[in-house]
Amino acid sequence: MPWEELLSGLLHFTPGQGLMMLIGGVLIYLAINKGAEPVLLLPIGLGIILANIPLSGMHEEGGIFWLLKKAGLETEVFPLFIFIGIGAMIDFGSLLERPYTVLLGAAAQFGIFGTMLLAIVVGFPLNEAAAIGIIGSADGPTSIYVASILAPSRLGAVAVAAYSYMALVPIIQPPIMRLLTTKAERKIRMPTATTSVSRTTRIMFPIVAVVVTGLLVPKATPLIGMLMFGNLLRESGVVTRLAHTAENELVNIVTILLGITVGSTMTAATFLRADTILIFVLGIVAFSLGTATGVVFGKVMCYLSGRRVNPLIGAAGISAFPMSARVVQKVGLQADPHNHLLMHAVGANTAGQIASVVAGGALLALMAGIL
């Protein structure tokens, strides 16, 4: 009977779907009222609500969510296009003025691998453990890229955890930073850069980064390639109309679609599993571990440099661009109201962006060899 067909939506509605809608509503609430990464969490939230309406047909072959997932996520087009835009937004100047900060970005990536180990210990299969670890990249598109290759069914949880904790960086990081440093360390002042960077260096950097990273970690080439493509558009200075479109319309259009598509993967069936909570717990671990290893490596550099490096800036190595750099600045100012660490932290921060991509590529390559 057609009439039943019309009411069948209500009849097929499950408590699980109701719970998922509530979760979607909470994300929308956090996005709007707490300013938590609204650009992604708001579309994800509504995507979750839409995805849990029974019999909408949107997930079936030909449906809009099936299509967006197939065309944008499975192809990796969405995260890669967003990386073009992010590259066009990022100024690597702070990093180029302080090349040593690169190492802090490297150290903080232990958050990825350490969390992966923990996820294995608590029982996740290897591929899912790696996808959970990537939350520690503290970078949205990298997380989505890696998770959708290694463990598509976990994509929603991983993406939501990554974006949520990026918004929570001002709460997660400071206690760890204070725990691992002495007040004297936090007071260390760092000189403002005396060397400036030539335009040629800025233009050469994205090209060199692509070649070095690509040759050493081929699987990282798509991510680093698109990121540095955007950056080359920016730094070249001769294609401002392309750079402007990349960091605005292109990234906006893709973000609108990416958010709702990621949300649409979070159906009750895939998301409401006991171990999803574990993923969120491990996600906090990932951010904390990355922060900790960044700071500890900062302490090592502090010691080796004769206390010329403030270890706090290591916390910015997790990326979470640009929030964690601001957190470093704030914690530094609390120890010494005249200590401005921002530009150093931004160096570590952009290094963390690159290091996350390298770590993601390494993870994919090593997993491809194992699985």
Binding site: P99, V102, M116, V208, L363, I370
Partner: protein, 60 residues
């Protein structure tokens, strides 16, 4: 000879280390090694670039 090696090998492996965990440990050290190698090379390249292409007098 052969027999004596088995317990030795076994003792080197931490007993309850599952195959997944040992693989995970491998991925961890290999991954971190790769991340540091790549970024060290990048740092060296950046330092070299900075030396070769110094800013002109009008660039500050």
């Amino acid at each position: 000879m052969y027999l004596s090696l088995v317990p030795l090998t076994a003792s080197l492996q931490i007993a309850p280390l599952s195959q997944d965990l040992s693989r995970g440990l491998f991925v961890t050290w290999a991954g971190m090694a790769v991340v540091f190698s790549v970024l060290v090379v990048l740092t060296l390249m950046m330092l070299a670039l900075g030396r070769i292409f110094r800013p002109g007098p009008d660039e500050e």
